[in-house]
């Protein structure tokens, strides 16, 4: 049984492991980019959504400390 399993892995080994590796690499890359995008973009996103909700606040209200 073990030798059969070993042969099976050997013949398909190259393509299946590289496909899996590609998928893993691609998900890692996209997660890293998503993390950077969230890190820098989340608070500006909230501010943009908030400034466009009604009643629309002025830019002056955003920056003044009162």
């Amino acid at each position: 049984m073990d030798s059969l399993k070993g042969k099976g892995k050997g013949s398909k080994g190259a393509s299946s492991s590289s496909k899996l590796d590609l998928v893993k690499e691609w998900t890692n890359w996209s997660l890293k980019k998503a993390k950077v995008a969230t890190h820098y973009g989340f608070i500006p996103l909230i501010i943009v959504i908030g400034m466009n909700s009604d009643p629309k606040p002025h830019l002056f209200q955003l920056l003044s400390p009162v």
Partner: protein
């Protein structure tokens, strides 16, 4: 289980109509979400005490949109080798945050001067389905955490699916069994380190009290009881036991909701006594005082703060 008595007993109890009603099992109320099972107990027993100065300023630009600035100065604890000594390093930081709160969408973001950011999103996709996401991001690699939850609310049950980093997958389910009792369970599987767990929980509530309990295969067993003595005072007690490490902690606490202030205090079997006072000085201006005395480790923490808006 008084609500299971047949209606023949009703003639004698005219002034308590709630006891008489025959239970309509097809029309039970929706239970509280699984993570809020111990909500009343933890409101009294785990107030967020802090050390040092805290100043929070929230400016509302709109009904839904607001910005908040907060300054915190004080010692922060650093993990030390032995559990008996406590190492503290004084730090000060400024945190900027923005909130957008809508009935259908809630976005809360906070960023600190050292680059750490926390983000929370809650969106109602349909009437019954809700998505929640919670992330804590840091500049250092491998120090960030994120968790996504999908909640489905049925007529008398709630189901939730969770995905987190480190390949965490979890699901939980809670169902109302009678108008006062709800039972639930959860399973989770973590990729790193590989472990999985299962847990069960129960919650029984009436107008005057709430009792809840939780058991998990990680070794945790927690039970708590809250009695609402009046609408200003509530008392709570909690017992937590880890059956692998054989450690038990019991605590008793109170919560006084007065007109101008709210005081919460608790005392623990580990020798920790803590209290938090929130006093409303005027409209929108709150004064906070917090104290936590750990007699066993000889660690005394005092804090004061002001919240505007």
């Amino acid at each position: 289980m008084a609500d299971l008595f047949p209606p023949l007993v009703t003639a004698q109890i005219d002034d308590k109509p709630k006891v008489d009603e025959k239970v309509d099992y097809s029309n039970l109320p929706c239970p509280v979400p699984y993570e809020e099972l111990h909500r009343e107990a933890y409101m009294s027993l785990k107030p967020d005490t802090f050390e040092g100065l805290r100043f929070d300023f929230t400016k509302g630009l709109n009904q839904k949109f607001g910005l908040c600035h907060s300054v915190m100065m004080g010692p922060t604890e650093v993990p030390s080798q032995s559990p008996d000594t406590v190492i503290k390093i004084p730090t000060a930081h400024y945190e900027f945050g923005a909130n957008y709160i809508d009935p259908k969408l809630m976005l809360v973001g906070r960023v600190m001067t050292d680059g750490r950011q926390s983000a929370r999103v809650r969106a109602d996709l349909t009437d019954k389905l809700m998505v929640k996401a919670n992330a804590q991001l840091a500049n250092e690699p491998h120090m960030s955490q994120a968790m996504f939850n999908f909640d489905y609310m049925g007529s008398d049950y709630r189901a939730q699916l969770q995905f987190g980093n480190n390949a965490l997958v979890g699901a939980n389910y809670i169902q109302s069994v009678t108008p006062r009792l709800s039972l639930g369970g959860e399973v989770f599987w973590v990729g790193v380190p590989r472990k999985s767990g299962i847990g069960y929980a129960a919650r029984y509530e009436t107008d005057k009290m709430v009792a809840s309990g939780q058991v998990a295969s990680t070794g945790l067993m927690a039970m708590n009881y809250v009695q609402k003595v009046s609408d200003k005072v509530s008392l709570a007690t909690d017992f937590m036991y880890n059956y692998f490490s054989r450690e038990a902690v019991a605590s008793v606490g109170y919560d006084y909701m007065l007109r101008q202030s709210r005081v919460r205090g608790k005392i623990d079997s580990n020798g920790v006594a803590s209290a938090l006072l929130e006093e409303r000085l005027s409209m929108g201006l709150n004064f906070l005082m917090s104290a936590e005395l750990d007699h066993k480790k000889k660690d005394y923490k005092f804090g004061f703060g002001l919240t505007v808006g």
